[in-house]
Each structure stands twice: as C-alpha cells, then as structure tokens.
C-alpha cells in the first residue's frame, strides 16, 4: 500500500525520483479518505512551484482538497488522462493515477520528506 523508494509528505502526496525529475501523486491513504474522485485540477506545464505549495485540487463526491508539491521545481508533465478518467486516482494511485512530473530544483529538500516506513508510522500516530 505504501511502496518503498517513494518519498512521502504529511499532506499525503508521494514523489518518485526519475533522475533529476520527480513523479508526484497522492497516497493510497489519501484516495481512500477522499472516496470516489470526480475531478482533478492540475497546473499548466512550465509552472514553477515551491516545496509544499498548492499545485492543484482534487475533488471527490464528499470533499475538495488542495494538492501540495513535495519539492521545489518546475512542472514538466501533467497527467491529462485524469481529466476524463479521474477514477484512476482511486484504482491505481501510484501508477496511472500520477498527477505531475516536476524538475527537481533542490534535491536537498527530499530530506524533509518521509520514507515509506516513516509515513506508515506517521499514519499510525495520527490514529489511522
């Protein structure tokens, strides 16, 4: 449920390193808490983001939440298939449900994020 090798935020995003780029999505926990996702609002390619800046919005039948970027960087790719198939976020949060790819500007910032093990402990401490 929480793959090793990814870095996790306290706001329940994950980032996967691909060279100097990072692929970003939301965790299994986030999608299960939201319920059926019906809409995602993503940034335009090229948009610069700071670490933990809101980059978009995910909307389910019961809530709307901001999406926070795990690292500082520029948006290189956006998963446009989510426009017509937002349910991929529920069915495959670490695969087809990815949201953006960013060019990582400050690799040091990854230290502020959690490993899978730490994220699981964080969820447990939060009572989940």
């Amino acid at each position: 449920m929480y793959p090793e090798g990814l870095h996790y935020t306290k706001e329940h995003e994950w980032i996967k390193l691909e060279g100097d780029r990072g692929r970003v999505g939301i965790t299994h926990f986030a999608q299960s808490q939201l319920g059926d996702v019906v809409f995602v609002e993503l940034p335009k390619v090229g948009k610069p983001l700071r670490q933990m800046e809101a980059f978009g919005v995910v909307e389910s039948v019961k809530a709307v939440s901001d999406l926070y970027c795990p690292v500082t960087g520029q948006v290189l790719e956006v998963n446009s298939s989510l426009e017509s198939k937002p349910e991929q976020i529920n069915s495959d949060p670490y695969g087809k449900g990815w949201m953006v790819v960013v060019k990582i500007a400050e690799p040091k910032e990854l230290r502020n994020l959690m490993t899978a093990e730490k994220y699981k402990a964080y969820l447990a401490a939060e009572g989940h």
């Binding site: 389910s60 809530a63 709307v64």
Partner: protein
Amino acid sequence: MRYIPNTEADCRTMLDAIGVRSSEELFADIPSKLRLKRGLDLPPPLSESGLRRQMNALAGKDADVDRYSSFLGAGAYNHFIPAAVSHLVFRSEFYTAYTPYQPEISQGTLQAIYEYQTLICQLTGMEIANASMYDGSSALAEAVLMAHRINGRQEVLMPRAVHPEYRMVCGTYANKLGLRLLELPYTDKGTTDLKQVKAALSPRTSCVVVQSPNFFGALEMLEEIAEAAHGADALLVVAVAEPVSFGIVRSPGECGADIVVGEGQSFGNHLNFGGPYLGFFATKEAYLRSMPGRLIGQTEDKHGRTGYVLTLSTREQHIRREKATSNICTNEGLCALTATVYLSLLGRTGLRELALLNLRKTAYAKAAFSKLRGYEVRFSGSTFNEFVVRSKKRTPAQVNRALLGKRIIGGMELGRFYPELADCLLLCVTEENSREEIDALCKAMGGAR
C-alpha cells in the same frame, strides 16, 4: 396580543433556579451610568385593530404602484403579478426562503430550483445556471471575480452604461483583490462605443462587462463586443437588469457571452422597497467549477427513479472555508421559486407577448416625448422599455414634484449618478401603464412649466 410569553411566576422560578434576586441583577456587568433606569418613552399599547389602522395610515403615506401610475424603472420593474403566483408560492410545502440543511429530504424544493436553473439556461442561452444569488448587482460582482479566477487577469472593462449601483458593488468586491475597473464612455446612441472597447482591451483584460438593455434602456451590440473581447482572450460578462427583454431580444448566449448574470425581480417578484431580489447566474459548462453558489442536479436513485440533489457543494464555504470558490453560501430560494412559477404561467408565448407589450408601449411613449414641447429624447439607440428624456426648462426634480401631485411617479433623475445628465430623466414603461396613463404623463409633463 401578548408578545412576552413569560408570566411573573415563570420569571420568579427561573431567577430562583439561578440564584438571582431580580432580572435587573443580570445586567450588573453593564456600567450603571450607561443603563437607562426608567421605562422606554413609548405611547400606550394598541389593540390589534388599532395597530392595523395605524400601520395602514403609515403605509398610505407612500406613493405605491397600486395607487399611483409609475414610470420608474432603473433596475426595479413594475410588472403585473398574476394571483396564481402567490397562491402557489404561499403553499406551506414551498413557503420558506431556505434550502434545507438536509436538502435531499425536500425533493419538491430541489425540483423547483432545478426547473428554475433550466429556465434561466433557456432564457440566457447558456449551458448551466446556479440556484440563484442575492440580486443583480452582487451576481455581476461574482461574475467579475469568476472571470478573474478563470484567467488570472486584473483588469475589468466597465462601461458607464452599466447600472451605476451594479458598478459600485463590483468596485466593493474587486477592490481588495487588486482588480482594476476601467470605465468606458457611452455614445450619443446611449450605448457603449465599440471602438473604445477595442482600444481598452489588452493582455491584462480579464473581462468586458456589458449590460443590455443597458442603464439607459438601450440595446448593446453584444456580438461585436464578444468578438472583440475574445480576440484579446478576455471573457464577455453580460448583465441583464430587465429580463422581460429575453422575450424579444436574442439571448446573450447566442451572441457569444461567457457569463450571463442579472436581476430576476421582474419575474413575479414584487418591488419590495428594493429587496429581497433575485440574482441569476449562468455560464458555460467548461466553467462549471469556477462558478459561485450552489447547484441542483438531477440524478437517479437505486431503483432508477428521478431524484434531485445539491451537487458540487464541496466547493462552498461551509466545506472549503477560506478556500471556497465564493463567499456566497446560500441562495434566494423563495424569489427563485416565485420566478419559476411566474415563468411557467407565462410560458414561451406569454413572455414574448409581454415583451412585445413593453416594447410597443415604450415606443408609443418615446414617440410622444419626441414631439412634446420642452423635452427631447436624449439618446438615439434602440431601446426596450426604458429611455432617457431631457427636460429643457424645468429641472427633473421640479418635474417629478409636479407629477407626484398628480399621483404619477416620474422617472429617475439621472444627475444623481451622471452629473452631465443632470437635466435628464430615465423613464420606464411596462404593461402596467395604460395608454391613458402615458397620455396623462405627457400632459402633466407638458404642463409642468
């Protein structure tokens, strides 16, 4: 009639329960010098019938449209309201201003709002409409904010032919968001100058606002303005203060509007001293998630039966707090219901006939004023049910005073909002004004010298 249900014994019991000697002690925290240590200086109480007489006498001091003939419009329109409207709206199943907190339990209320949204879409020529807003002016302000949400730009082109109070409300809403409202002048036709629109458009322009029929009653060239706005990647926001005009003019949607807002008072709602009124708000489906307010959707239950739900409310204030799409978190449910009943009674043909009546009577009055000594029609543009008259001799205030003496409510004195039109009156003629009334108005004004 007793308004205070507590007996002295009730009060005693309550005071004993909390251990206080008198109710006066409950106010001990208020400094003594600030307290009024005597009864209020009020006249003695009245009986119910006496109270009724007094209130009627007070109401009789007003010049109302039942006892006066009225030629005042300017955003509030005197239309006939069939008795069937109040009969249906006052039914206990319907008679509340609130959309219930557990909305889906009230399928009838939701269905009525859904019908309302459908009617607004048909009239405006747009794809989606919300469940209503406070009034025309706040609906326009919300449209301006929405355009900014969509394209992030900062400038709003705001013609002076837009209702001055609508412009003021927009200014209040836009002010702290750093949006700039740029005024555009009107021409001798009483319409917005397309050349000036084109000259003012830039990559900073978020939207162009146009009111049609505009504040002077004149019809704007929506299609040309839409084309110009879209050419600069700006949105066109169309405001309609007199929606009876929908019965006869092409819908703003057909002319290329991106957001259409307006005032729905004309649809079965009384003048009500200026409120509560009904803001309507419609746009394209592509902008659904940027639209303020609530929305009723049609769906099916697990047995496949049609049902209605409050939808997309996840972006409203009670859920998203400070990140909500808009600060509006309610709607004008009862006024929207009234409009729905009214429009259903009129139907497509009825609304068209009503619009034609307004148009013809206004044309008759306008022709009369073009021949009346001491007056002239100020603007040359095509109008719907309002037009501007310039008084060459008497001031508009003098004219209106003389008219009131003859039980006629005259037009709005434009000097209040337009110093350069201080000698002008904005007159409105609806189906409620008979030919005799219009003739009497001309005679009274012709004689007011």
